[in-house]
């Protein structure tokens, strides 16, 4: 990039497309490159944001508007840090992380179905009902789109937005001191998947998930599911991994619920809260025993 700045001017027609698509009619004062200039070097991006058609002034305007909330957030963070209020955990007390009785609760969740990704025909929605509970409902269909590629379909997902700090900095949940995930839900008898997203730095770890099943009773009564974190198993891109270890609880950025139980029909999951709890008697880190593979066998 610096070389380009020094030796010539380059007019990329698309900032996101790299080496291949740079227009050839750039003017170069001194011809130093014999091959196409690579304007910048990057891998896949974790966060694919849609391109916006804003001009510079609009970008600045939008940024300034964002600044107000960000500064407010930053102020809270600073005051929180100044207080240095230590975290006291009492066994049996549930620290509610997600509640749905706030007006902003709806903005921190995203419902996606395979229909949205052109993977199928399921549909789902998420809203907060009159009792101030989150409702995740939809219709699961296993009809496979006839595109010749896909062989199975049918999923609906509800994912929290990525946790962040002020000024769009990345953040993570600090759950290292807790041992259990506690959910108060009312389902319809179907089983849901709870996912804890722990994306790592390198791209092979981006899809790391710790999963466990959320069984629901069905009926008018609410249920409290208390699940040890040690029960969560590691999977990536839908495949359970051979090497299992307990979730690193300080690296969780999102939590999500998935409806993939291969049963066609409507589903409905009401969520009161999602919390975490400390049980000092629970010392297990991973519930899954490991075996030594025969010598020379590659783990695949």
């Amino acid at each position: 990039m610096n070389l380009v700045r020094f030796f010539g001017r380059i007019i990329p027609n698309d900032a996101h497309n790299l080496c291949g698509n740079i227009r050839q009619n750039y003017t170069i004062a001194r011809n130093v490159h014999t091959s196409v200039v690579c304007s910048h070097f990057t891998f896949h991006e974790t966060k694919r944001e849609p391109k916006d058609d804003l001009n510079t002034v609009q970008h600045i305007w939008r940024g300034m508007n964002m600044l107000k909330d960000e500064v407010r957030m930053w102020k809270d963070e600073v005051s929180e840090a100044v207080k240095t209020d230590p975290l006291f955990l009492f066994p049996g007390n549930v620290d509610k992380v997600f509640k749905f009785n706030e007006p902003n609760a709806l903005h921190s969740w995203i419902a996606t179905a395979d229909q949205d990704n052109k993977d199928g025909y399921s549909s789902c929605e998420f809203f907060i009902d009159e009792n101030q509970k989150g409702v995740f409902q939809g219709f699961l269909t296993q009809t496979v789109p006839k595109d010749g590629e896909r062989t199975r379909a049918g999923y609906c997902n509800l994912k929290s937005v990525k946790k962040r700090k002020s000024f769009k900095r990345e953040s993570k949940f600090e759950w290292g001191m807790y041992t259990h995930l506690v959910l108060r839900v009312r389902g319809d008898g179907r089983s849901y998947m709870i996912n804890l997203h722990t994306p790592g730095y390198y791209d092979v770890f981006w899809n790391d998930l710790y999963q466990f099943v959320l069984y629901t009773r069905g009926g008018p009564y609410w249920q409290v599911s208390k699940i040890p974190f040690s029960k969560f198993f590691l999977s990536s891109k839908g495949k359970i991994q051979d090497f299992q270890y307990g979730p690193s609880l300080d690296d969780i950025t999102n939590i999500s619920f998935t409806m993939v139980d291969k049963i066609e029909g409507p589903f409905k999951l009401e969520i009161d809260y999602i919390g975490v709890e400390l049980d000092p008697n629970h010392s297990e880190t991973s519930a899954y025993e490991m075996y030594k593979l025969p010598r020379g066998m590659a783990n695949s």
């Binding site: 549909s123 269909t141 179907r190 069984y215 009773r217 069905g218 359970i240 049963i263």
Partner: protein, 400 residues
């Protein structure tokens, strides 16, 4: 055909042995090493073409017939030609024969594969997936087993080890299944039989039992609408009510109405059942007592071992939820309004208060929830909206 034989004879020309069993032609002697069945090639050439649909012409589709076809292939094809295609064909047909959950049949299919032929000789072959087409075929079979919740056993593992060796990729998949599937098969806190009953009555009984599992003292009673005078429907009612709920209902405020709400859906594996609830308005929880632990002005030594009287409150039962007090739950054979009226009348024998309070129906027809699942109607994508239907409230006089 001659080209094929030439190819064979050319390939194995160095291995010709003289055999006592003489064949009809000279060429045949050269390939005698393979112990062909003694029949001419020309007359049954057609029969040796791969049969793509071995199971298509079968009329009586059952497990026995399925196993017979597999056995027929096993006997007919000495060299197991096209066994991969045969297995894929068999996997596709399993559902039609109703054997997709049968481990024995899966074993019979795997048994078609030749033993020992695909076993790698060294670890490099093993790591680079020796005989990939065959291994992927077995992995598809294992995947179908997993989709249907069939847990493999050690015998299948032995078969697979004999076919592709203990380092085969399909064996590794088998090992994963043996590790994970038993762990999750019995995990549900509300266990169900692998096949839920098809009879609506048994299914509804299972549903009511599951719903009322919150209160172990629940009494489930089965009524018939025939016992009620001038009832239109002739059907059954499964009703669940615990003594606690009876007490709660007896203490219901007679001025506020009792609601019959439904139809709600509960899923039992792949079947869903509609249920109805008898609900009262929510009761406010006991007031939280504000106590200041740092205030020692009223401290006296005598009170240490006695809980303060003002803090004692009756623990709300599980039936007192924040969106209402649930007095009873039921499933009926017709899920119709008339059967619910009969339910109220039958409940009145044990809960006389139902004759004194106004009863309000919040009833949404379950029929509107039924949605076609073929691809045509999927484009709208508003199936989920069917749940939030209009609810037609209707008073059904309080003097029943």
């Amino acid at each position: 055909m001659s080209r094929v034989l030439l190819k064979f004879s050319f390939q194995f020309s160095g291995y010709i042995r003289h055999s006592s069993a003489l064949s009809h032609t000279v060429i045949m002697t050269r390939t005698n090493l393979f112990h062909f069945p003694q029949r001419s090639f020309a007359d049954d050439e057609k029969s040796r073409l791969p049969r793509l649909n071995e199971f298509g012409n079968v009329e009586n589709k059952s497990k026995e017939v399925f196993l017979t076809v597999i056995n027929g292939y096993d006997v007919r094809e000495v060299h197991k030609r096209n066994h991969v295609e045969f297995i894929y064909g068999a996997l596709k047909q399993m559902k039609d024969f109703g054997v997709e959950r049968d481990l024995e049949v899966y074993k019979a299919i795997v048994n078609v594969m030749p033993k020992g032929r695909f076993v790698p000789r060294n670890f490099l072959q093993a790591e680079f997936m020796h005989f990939p087409k065959q291994q992927i075929c077995i992995m598809h079979l294992l995947e179908q087993m997993e989709d249907n919740g069939v847990i493999p056993d050690a015998e299948l593992g032995e078969l697979l080890v004999n076919i592709i060796g203990e380092r085969g990729y399909a064996v590794r998949r088998f090992m994963r299944m043996m590790y994970w599937m038993p762990k999750f098969s019995k995990l549900s806190p509300w266990p169900l039989p692998t096949e839920v009953p098809r009879e609506p009555f048994d299914l509804a009984m299972l549903a009511v039992k599951r719903i009322t599992s919150v209160d172990p003292s629940t009494v489930i009673s089965v009524f018939s609408t025939r016992d009620v005078e001038d009832s239109i429907d002739d059907t059954w009612i499964i009703s669940g009510q615990s003594p606690v709920q009876q007490e709660l209902l007896a203490s219901h405020n007679k001025k506020s109405p009792v609601y019959i709400e439904g139809a709600f859906r509960i899923w039992l594996r792949k079947s869903s059942v509609y249920y109805f609830v008898l609900r009262g308005d929510p009761r406010p929880p006991p007031d939280p007592v504000e106590t200041d632990f740092d205030d020692v002005s009223s401290f006296s030594a005598g009170n240490i071992f006695r809980p303060p009287v003002s803090e004692v409150a009756v623990q709300p039962s599980v039936h007192e939820q924040e969106d209402g007090v649930f007095y009873a739950v039921c499933c009926t054979g017709s899920s119709g309004k008339d059967s619910l009226l009969s339910w109220v009348r039958l409940m009145q024998k044990t809960n006389p208060i139902l004759g004194e309070v106004p009863i309000l129906f919040k009833f949404s027809s379950p029929n509107r929830d039924i949605v076609t699942t073929d691809g045509k109607n999927m484009d709208g994508g508003d199936q989920s909206k069917t749940d939030s239907q209009k609810q037609d409230d209707e008073t059904a006089g309080g003097n029943r």
